[in-house]
């Protein structure tokens, strides 16, 4: 797979894995309204994954469509960031993941909606509306939980603490990013960091929460080196396609 296809693949994998995680909540959320909103976010992410993985397959031009990419690759070929594959944990941990990721996605798609390559720009423009809502939803919950009860605050702090080590990976640039920028499709993610920090800090302040201390980042997702959690997620997600390789659905 060339750099541009890989670039689309990374975007698709981020959305796919997050959508898969959020889907686990369906029917089990703390309130009916929360169930609806988490499922809504899951649905948006699955939709984005379908577009980006479809684009990756089209650029690759080797006969793999979005489903082949989603359901017929093993862990080391997945290129999502480590943040999105983290387990749901309690509701605060899920919100912490969503909060960090959605603000990143919103900033990314704001820029990508303006790139020269119309295929990437079109998907980003559509997704931007969705992820802006996700960022607002997650921020609202960070504030409610942070500035709620003693228990909710402690849980929100723990959730952020779990996820914080995976935040730096979102902004790491490599050859694939450079090639995508050169091709008129990519975004300089390192340039998004300052604004991301500002947005995160503003919400944390409103939530009466301290920013978690900096720590050594955990990296590797873009190169297929994942956490232990991803293999289990895939074995669940890919079960039918693996068990019945000759069937269509």
């Amino acid at each position: 797979m060339d750099a541009l296809a890989t670039y689309a693949l990374r975007l698709g994998d981020d959305s796919l894995i997050l959508g898969q995680r959020l889907g686990e909540w369906c029917g089990h959320a703390p309130a009916l309204e929360v169930d609806l909103s988490l499922t809504n976010v899951a649905l948006d992410q699955v939709g984005q994954a379908t577009h980006f993985l479809g684009l990756a397959g089209a650029i690759e031009n080797a006969g793999r469509d979005a489903d082949a990419l989603a359901f017929r690759r093993d862990v080391m070929d997945f290129t999502n960031c480590l943040l999105v594959e983290q387990p749901n944990g309690d509701f605060a941990q899920t919100i912490a993941r969503q909060f960090l990721f959605s603000h990143y996605q919103a900033l990314l798609f704001e820029q990508m909606a303006r790139v020269k390559d119309e295929r990437f720009a079109a998907i980003a423009a559509k997704a931007l509306k969705e992820v802006s809502y996700h960022a607002t939803l997650a921020s609202d919950w960070v504030v409610r939980l942070g500035d709620g009860t003693e228990e909710s605050k402690a849980r929100m702090v723990a959730g952020l603490d779990w996820m914080w080590r995976f935040a730096d990976e979102l902004f790491v640039m490599d050859d694939v990013d450079a090639a995508a920028i050169a091709a008129g499709a990519g975004v300089d993610k390192s340039a998004l960091r300052a604004e991301w920090d500002a947005r995160i800090d503003a919400v944390l302040a409103d939530a009466t929460l301290a920013r978690p201390a900096s720590r050594r980042p955990v990296l590797g997702g873009r190169a297929g080196h994942h956490s232990e959690h991803l293999g289990h997620l895939l074995s669940d997600m890919q079960f039918l396609q693996r068990a019945y390789p000759d069937a269509t659905w």
Partner: protein, 332 residues
Amino acid sequence: MYTTDLSGKDKNAAVAGVAEDPALIAAFEARVAADEFIEPKDWMPEAYRKTLVRQMSQHAHSEIVGMLPEGNWITRAPNLRRKAILLAKVQDEAGHGLYLYSAAETLGTSRDEMTEALLSGKAKYSTIFNYPTLTWADIGAIGWLVDGAAIMNQVPLQRTSYGPYARAMVRICKEESFHQRQGYEIMMHLAAGTDAQKRMAQDALNRWWWPSLMMFGPPDDKSPNTEQSMRWRIKRDTNDELRQKFVDITVPQAEAIGLTVPDAALKWNEERGAYDFGEVDWEEFYAVVKGEGPVAKERMQARQKAWDEGAWVREAARVHAEKRAAAKLAAE
């Protein structure tokens, strides 16, 4: 996001044991007989209110518990399209639950009270959701048969006498009819697929057929609430009438995709212009109503767990809203 707490309010105009004004009752009965809608602020007999709360909350609970068997396959849906459709469908069910709880709240019972009645076992939900989803074909069978049966039950409710319930049903029916079609489409695809897929589809039909027929409730001669509910226009067709209609519509659909309905007594009756079909196992039905369905314990455990583990979140939202309201007040 949290609805008004109605539990502390004076919810019953008539106190149990106090006779209701015969003139009010007569006026009410006349309005219902004339197919007028009864609205939340209108006077209504206490028994009508209670019957509605029972039926509407049972309906809402069914939507919510019904998310579990289908939710069981969201993470394993076989492709991206099916995953998105299933997510959207289960989300629709949650939405139905929400409208129905809201409509029921207009009768003076809060959503929390209804939820607690479900968790304590006092309130019932549809028996169908106490059966497990074992293969992907079960997702097709639920859409096709269970939502199909639900539509039969619900279409007449669009003209039910209580206004908020009738209006909720209009929207719900539109979505259910989409659900039914997507379920049938899954089955159609499986039935035309590999041998393993065909086997899955037939097995799902075998397991879901009889429980689907049970969804219409006990036979008319054993349905204690039917007569009163028909008179109040809460219900518009009898259980047996709806069951027959379901069989007549569904059998040709099974035949069209090469699946066999698991009933040796099933036979077209030329004279009646309808199918004759075998006896439902009512002993099983009553056992499932009592909470002895194969996965009844799992369903209630899942709802209880979500409720208990979500308590701190609901509490945080409440406390936060109070803090913000107090801060706003102080700033004014």
